[in-house]
């Protein structure tokens, strides 16, 4: 996919092989990018043109292709990469279509220029950072007095505290307030003991296969948390009873409803019950 780029007319004269290698390196490194702007900047640098004259349309296309390629590899992308992709797709369509006079707001050219500015500014900050770190640095290239003379005579005590100390102290106090022992909010929880009891009672009056949902207590059958909790505990209870040999479980296929019936005392060994039970587990 990246190799095709190189063959597109007008798209730089870089050798296809090198381009492909670079493309693959990028894909492998997707985690190494510091956000969509960083990715865009890397793509822009590969065009080897002055950032101020960057063809934004072409860059947008490259970015979108890159995102597609990454998604084809099923690499999870952080949301902001996708937000940028959506924005670039929008920008691309605006750049390609004739301007709509009815539309107000910034023109596509303004938006493109702003993107170019952002890239140039990020690049400039990168270079500035590199120059900064390359300076003669204290403790590496230049040195302070190794044996400072501190003469202890005057007795004045000076209490020191920094703003950071102050803020940390306050933060500590406030987080202490927020802290409370973890307590489960029980109003929406149907405990397993209750489910077990209910199931045992009901099974006495039940003869044939019935869906698990049928055993949910009234008031817990709607949707949402209460139903999920009741379903979970009833299912767990049914497994417990199956283990005790008191019910049989079956499920036609994955995600199909689970059904159960009481096991007859001294009951028949019924092979497909076991097999279906495996499906449910």
């Amino acid at each position: 996919m990246v190799a095709q780029d190189a063959q597109e007319p007008g798209d730089g004269a870089a050798p296809a092989m090198a381009e492909r290698l670079a493309g693959e390196a990028l894909i492998v490194d997707v985690d190494g990018f510091e956000g969509p702007l960083d990715l865009l900047l890397t793509l822009a640098r590969r065009q080897k043109v002055d950032l101020r004259r960057i063809p934004v349309l072409q860059l947008a296309e490259q970015y979108l292709r890159f995102i597609e390629a990454v998604r084809a590899l099923r690499i999870e992308l952080a949301a902001d990469y996708l937000v940028m992709a959506a924005w670039l797709a929008y920008l691309k369509s605006r750049l390609l279509l004739p301007p709509d006079p009815a539309e107000d707001g910034p023109s596509a050219e303004d938006m493109a220029a702003h993107l170019a500015f952002q890239l140039e500014r990020l690049e400039a900050m990168r270079e500035a950072a590199a120059r900064l770190m390359a300076r003669d640095r204290l403790g590496r290239d230049i040195f302070a007095r190794g044996a400072p003379e501190v003469v202890t005579v005057a007795r004045s005590k000076q209490y020191s505290a920094t703003l950071l100390d102050l803020m940390q102290a306050y933060a500590r106090l406030r987080t202490r307030d927020d802290f409370r022992p973890y307590a489960f909010d029980r109003s929406d929880v149907f405990p397993m003991e209750a489910a077990l009891e209910r199931l045992r009672d009901m099974l006495g009056h039940q003869g044939d296969w019935a869906e698990l949902a049928h055993y949910l207590p009234p008031g817990w059958r709607g949707a949402g948390k209460r139903r999920r909790s009741a379903m979970a505990s009833t299912f767990a209870a049914s497994l417990e009873l199956a283990k005790q040999g008191r019910v049989e479980l079956r499920q036609a296929e994955t995600f199909a409803p689970i059904r159960l019936r009481p096991r007859r005392p001294g009951g028949q060994d019924n092979g497909h019950g076991g097999g279906d039970g495996g499906g449910a587990a």
């Binding site: 910034p106 900050m125 640095r137 403790g139 230049i142 190794g146 003469v151």
Partner: protein, 219 residues
């Protein structure tokens, strides 16, 4: 070497004649040599006898050490002796392990230095990615950045600025001496340029009250 008369202690101002300039220079030399940290002009003035001309004495001292193995450097409003940079190769045994900074931390530091005072949101806007808490925390802990004034915009966000320790570490007299600062500013790369159509209202509001906040770059 003990034959020079002992000057009066600083605690008794006015009672004794002001020491000659050469003597003031010696005193400053002694104080700065004795300290590993930069000492501010104000602190020097406090410690010298009343009536000394600290600025003048410092200027003399600085030219005396020009080209020596140890040089007098200015760090913001403070002064310190430091070894000459060209002798770095000699100093292996003094070298201290430099803490490795993440790329995010290095870039954030540069952005604070070049754009200060700068809010967290502005840093994120420039990098195009969220700034993790650890990054800011690390720079605060290194004492390379600190909190500046609040921005007088809605929400009154805190700003970050670089510290004297930052200047000291990177051998800068002031934040104005940051490499390439002038070129960046002339290229408009230090402007805060909002996304077209967005946030223009904020930019105006900022100018109104914010003037006092940029003493570093506005001359």
């Amino acid at each position: 070497m003990n034959d020079r008369p002992v000057p009066p202690p600083a605690a008794t101002p006015g009672l004794f004649p002001i020491p000659p300039l050469a003597e003031q220079e010696r005193m400053i030399e002694a104080i700065l040599f004795a300290s590993a940290e930069p000492v501010s002009s104000a602190e020097l003035a406090r410690r010298l006898p009343e009536g000394c001309d600290v600025a003048e004495a410092l200027a003399h001292l600085r030219s005396r050490y020009a080209g020596r193995g140890v040089v007098l450097v200015r760090v913001g409003e403070a002064w310190a002796f430091r070894t000459a940079p060209d002798l770095a190769w000699l100093m292996h045994s003094e070298q201290v392990e430099q803490r490795r900074l993440s790329r995010a931390a290095i870039e954030t530091l540069a952005i604070v230095a070049y754009h200060q005072p700068v809010t967290r949101a502005e840093i994120e806007e420039i990098r195009g990615v969220a700034v993790s808490r650890g990054t800011i925390d690390q720079l605060l802990e290194l004492d390379w950045i600190r909190l500046g004034r609040r921005r007088m915009t809605p929400g009154r966000p805190v700003t970050f600025v670089v510290t004297e320790a930052f200047l000291d570490h990177f051998g800068l007299e002031s934040a104005r001496d940051l490499p390439g600062l002038k070129e960046l500013r002339e290229a408009g790369l230090l402007d805060s340029r909002p996304l077209p159509g967005a946030a223009e209202a904020e930019a105006e509001e900022e100018d109104a009250e914010d003037v006092g906040q940029r003493p570093l770059f506005d001359e």
